[in-house]
Symmetry: C2
Subunit: 163 residues, 2 copies
DNA sequence: AAATATACTTAGCATTGCTAACGAAATATA
DNA sequence: TATATTTCGTTAGCAATGCTAAGTATATTT
């Protein structure tokens, strides 16, 4: 089968030999599951009238508080020119506002507006409601497994990014 | 999931919290974890020289076999014009080839080339290797939780999409 | 045979990613 | 102090990827 052919390529074969068999297989499945989950969830985002990059940046601002453009770019793992345009778009839409930085005139301070907070809240509700409906397929025990898995992934990724 | 659409999103959110607090909370965490996981993994994809949409479509072709453009668009949850351009790009890059459908001259049959298979293998290796490194943060028991979680998510999303 | 439906393409728009090149401000160094 | 370097953000321009509207060609239905 095609799956077997793919996984047995040279470098992955080495990893299998290193006792990492379980981790590689899980990484593969996890990757696939995350893709399918988000692809399904993003259907709802269209309703907000804003693109995915703006919604994601808005989320960082709402939960992380005001920050400079560079910090926002770094948080979103995007280059400064890209974030510059995303912030400009959010400002045009009235979702964020820009203020000069107190101590450094090169920097700008980006913060979310009340409209931005409202819009993000609605978008989050829609996505999460949709995913919660998906989880109706799962038993209580399975939901508990998913809760633990989400925490494990968050912790591991946070450690990897920081490294 | 019988939910009246007349209810405002705020009230609906409260309803869900009341009736289904656990699932909504898990949906939220799962959503966030999936975003962070994929954002981290996509760093590696740049090395392939192809964009995410082409890599993803290529993956569908490799694992699902040759199919029409419409089937591919449906599998990727994208509209036909979008897939039309993605397929054209894959053909220009020599990753896929296009043949006329035997029984219906309106359709085109898209299949992966050996170059496409090779490129996908390499991209998969990079992503999965990176994620497997991330999983080094996790214990054996945690990896097992993740394996189960991936299966649960795949099953639930597949059911939801089909519905 | 004619009308309708389906499959795909083309054209045109917006968003989002990048690099290169620029300006302004802060910091380091001579 | 004066100059050089570094840092922060923007502008310009390219490519990819999402969409809708509209067109073409082929199948299907009436």
């Amino acid at each position: 089968m095609a799956v077997k052919k793919i996984v047995s390529s040279a470098k992955l074969f080495l990893m299998l030999r290193k006792n990492n068999k379980e981790r590689v297989g899980v990484a593969d499945r996890l990757h696939s599951a995350a893709i399918h989950l988000l692809r399904y969830a993003r259907k709802e985002d269209v309703l907000s009238g804003e693109g995915p990059a703006r919604l994601s940046a808005l989320s960082v601002l709402v939960f992380g508080g005001p920050m400079t453009l560079g910090q926002l770019a770094s948080a979103e793992q995007v280059k400064p020119p890209t974030m510059s345009r995303i912030v400009a778009g959010m400002e045009r839409s009235g979702l964020a506002k820009i203020d000069p930085d107190a101590g450094d005139a090169r920097r700008i301070r980006v913060s979310v507006t009340s409209k931005g907070t409202r819009l993000l809240q609605q978008a989050r509700e829609r996505r999460i409601r949709l995913l919660a409906e998906v989880l109706d397929q799962a038993s209580g025990a399975e939901v508990e497994v998913l809760r633990e898995a989400a925490e494990i992934v968050e912790r591991a990724v946070r450690a990897a990014v920081q490294k």
